[in-house]
Subunit: 333 residues, 2 copies
DNA sequence: GCTCATTGTGTTATCGATAACAGTGTTAAC
DNA sequence: GTTAACACTGTTATCGATAACACAATGAGC
């Protein structure tokens, strides 16, 4: 009808009629049916956000950043969680597509299958932007933090404190290859002329997927029982570091005197552990804001290039878990 | 077409045709258009979950519980966060309704306006179930934990340790009336013949809405500077308690010897503060599961009564922040 | 006065799924 | 052998919004 024109302000409508329509709309509490609209291929003004999980303080800050930008542009966000199950992730992505969101932000860890699912969505013409998960072979914009550099600087910090036997906790040697944080560790050692020792690398064997507190506990137990344990470890993330702390205490090590621990993420708990953790902080909110902007640019056809990638800086937060290193009586080869 | 019958398994379709349709569907990667379906008033098999925010570990556990049940019944969940803004909450609820979810789970704190928005949704025929937020005057099912009893038991624990001057942190005396945790505090004192002293109640003046770490800090500063400070405080939630801990340390109080602190929620950090917090744990996952079941019962018309309310038990987790009370030299009137 | 542009309004068709109905053929019942 | 019941399949109309078009009425320009 003419009503559609009046409400959307498109085409010719006399002021007179327009007012009447608006009044009637208010009186009847009219709300346009988003579904009917999108059935015709129009925008739903909704975007989906795919998260690894919700417990994660990372997710919270990321979503806050994303929402800030989305709201400003009139988009609504629907969230979904994968809970580390590729099945759940695929189901949620499908649900987003089925409900015709205008675009999707993906912040889960990468897997082969997941990447294929994302590529399929792109092929359907729905824009996708990932956070912390660059995707090869598909025109998917990506925003990340420089995990490599963050890890590099944290490990350099350990080296500058005098450590030479520095372990890595949170991934098995076989799966370390595609973990940027591991490369940062590796390269920092190399840059200071320290040889990489695979016996100082410990973590779960289930691929590069994730690493939990329990994984950290197990890994530290393994390293702590070596004839010559490391004098410092870099943990892949704070949860892993917390598990490592627990193991170190049980083994009777004093932190940081016997073993210094640094990690990654700077989650809130990291400031409250005993001792508080030295860890790498990444600009999460900013990643969310940038990613959201990338997505909106795609949705509104303001950016049509092949692929944009953005990498933001991290910084090391120094706390007591790496306090000044004193050589142990029998230690230091 | 006949295709619809084949795919949905309704009405008569010969086995022969059914197979052909299924094959074609697979070949074309056919996905039914949920929107078109719901345009006809049918189910979208999606439900909305309205959360206060995401940082909250409460949200995480709640969603996990909810998802568990939803998934089993073939529903997809879309989450949204209110971030303490009634505006955002209303916008998100409207978005859920616009996108025709089958039902909504609401876990935000109550406000007058929010309640009215929920009542309006119910009137539109969309089932709503709330968690921890009973709503008067509307047929909204609700699942809660017994905050009253939890607080009652925590405060009783303090009393049994010998405390008599027990403060309450996290709400101003004027707004305490509709806070169940406060009533638990009040009634525990009364039951043990201890008079309520309004000078020992401190919290933000901005209504019963919420209380943060900063609120806890400010409140403890206020109580700690009294001529006769309390020997114990009960904090409305763990964040508030953490702020209170910080203030107490700054004021030079030793916890628990000078002031014992108990709180509510048992968030993960609570086990890692110095000293670890005695706090009340509520069965969050179970609340989520029950609420989800309530909602599905409504959606699938398996329950048609006026209103169901369910209240689950809490329990006190004793840690070092309330360690055995030793009378202070000059204290204890 | 005629043509044409401009402004305003109503009509039809469409998106995809499906309910309701209208057919066709086949078998069973009396 | 006629009627009735059943099995199957195709047709039409519908949900709500809107693009595309058709049709008025008005005024400008020559």
């Amino acid at each position: 009808m003419t009503a559609s024109r009046a409400i959307n302000g498109t085409g010719y409508v006399s002021e007179d009629v327009r007012k009447k329509v608006m009044q009637a709309a208010k009186a009847l509490k009219y709300r346009p049916n988003v579904l009917a609209r999108s059935l015709k291929g129009l925008s739903t003004h909704a975007v989906g956000i795919m998260l690894p999980d919700i417990a994660n303080p990372f997710s919270a800050q990321l979503v806050a950043g994303i929402q800030e930008v989305l709201e400003r542009s009139g988009y609504t966000a629907f969230l979904a969680t994968a809970n580390r199950s590729v099945e759940q992730e695929k189901a949620a992505l499908r649900a987003f597509v089925d409900h015709r969101v205008d675009g999707i932000l993906v912040a889960t860890r990468g897997t082969e299958i997941g990447n294929e699912a994302i590529a399929a969505i792109i092929r359907e013409g729905i824009p996708v932007v990932t956070v912390g998960r660059p995707i090869e072979n598909a025109p998917v914009d990506c925003v990340t933090a420089d995990h490599w550099k963050g890890a590099y600087e944290a490990v350099t910090h350990l080296i500058e404190l005098g450590h030479e036997r520095i372990g890595f906790i949170g991934v098995s040697p076989e799966h370390a290859a595609n973990l940027r944080r591991f490369h940062g560790y590796e390269d920092a050692l190399k840059a200071h002329g320290i040889a990489l020792r695979s016996e100082l690398i410990a973590g779960p064997a289930n691929g590069p997927a994730y690493a939990t507190e329990d994984d950290g506990y197990a890994a530290m137990m393994q390293l702590g029982r070596l004839k010559q344990p490391p004098t410092a470890v870099f943990a892949r993330n704070d949860y892993t570091a917390i598990g490592a702390l627990r193991a170190a205490h049980e083994l009777g090590f004093t932190i940081p005197d016997d073993i210094a621990i640094a990690s990654f993420d700077n989650i809130p708990i990291a400031a409250f552990t005993t001792p508080p953790l030295t860890t790498v902080s990444q600009p999460i909110g900013e990643q969310g804001r940038r990613a959201a902007q990338f997505l909106i640019d795609r949705i509104e056809h303001r950016f049509k290039g092949q692929k944009r990638e953005l990498c933001l800086e991290c910084h090391v937060v120094i706390r007591q878990s790496t306090g000044p290193h004193r050589k142990r009586s029998g230690g230091g080869k």
